[in-house]
Structures are given as C-alpha cells and as structure tokens.
Symmetry: C2
Subunit: 100 residues, 2 copies
Amino acid sequence: MVKLIALYKQPKDPKAFDEHYYNVHVPITEKIPGLRKVEITKIVGSPTGKSEYYLLCEMYYDDHQSLKEAMKTDEAKASWKDLMSFAGDLVTMMIGEEVE
Amino acid sequence: MVKLIALYKQPKDPKAFDEHYYNVHVPITEKIPGLRKVEITKIVGSPTGKSEYYLLCEMYYDDHQSLKEAMKTDEAKASWKDLMSFAGDLVTMMIGEEVE
C-alpha cells in the first residue's frame, strides 16, 4: 500500500495540540474518500533521550492513483486547510510505499 | 505496542545504501531479541514534490520494558554499530507508542 505520512515536531502547547488534533483534525481527515487506515504514533523520546518530534501519522491508500484522486477531493482540501491552521509550522509530509 | 523508529534522509548513493541496508543491516537488526515486527516504508516524495527523507523503518516491541531490555543485547549493539557505520549522519531515531 501507499502511505501519506505526517510527522509533527513538538508543539509549544501539547494540550491544545492534542485537543485540536484528536477532536477536530482526525475526524476531518478520516472522511477523505479512499483512505483505508490511519495509524497514529505518539513520539515519547529517542534512544538517547528527548526527541524533537511529537507525533507520526500514517494514512494508507490502495496505491498512488488512489492517493492522487483522494487529494483532489473537498474532504482532503478541508483536512489540509485545517492542518495548516494549527500545525503548518510543525508538520513534514511524506509519501511512502510499503516494502514487502 | 511500542515502536523504535528510524527515519533516514536521502543518501548520496541510494544504490549503495539499499545494498547495505537490505543485505546487511536488516538481517542484523532482525536478530534482536524481543523484536516483534519490522515495517519498512520507502519514501518516494511529498505532496508538494520531493522529500528530504528516503526511508522509514518501524520496529515493534511489546512495551517499553521489552525495548529497554532489547537495547542492552549484543544483537542490538551490533545493529547500532552497523547503523552508525553506514548511516550515522542520515538517521533520526524516535521511540513511539501506538495510539488506539
């Protein structure tokens, strides 16, 4: 499968971030057509101590074509707009392919 | 579950990186006691074009205690030593918890 990956740096206010992320952003994002699965990982540190990162979200699509089509939908545009409103300065987006 | 995450930036020589990664590093790493699952994602870009990242590897353990114990083993030390030898300047390590 193909993944759209969002990696977030530490927010200044983790409580406010979490509140918006789980109550607003995830529900908006889960409406995107073609999205098969969402896996969220809370980053809690690194082997050497702290991490500059806070959260990793992996959004699965069947293939690149499905992801491409999903990105054109109003639901994806709403998710993107919301993302930029609360974490535009924290997030790095990646597109990846699962290795067998 | 708990994940040890390795995020690699683009290597100068992707062919040499892949050869070492899949033929040497992954086999060494898979020997680490307590490691339940390895998920590798090849980063192929971003929604806006290229990505500075090349590969994401997620290594699953039962819990923090299992990861902590695993890190003390000779197998983990061998994996870390190998990692530093070919990708010490490319890799960012994180520890994460799956969100239900």
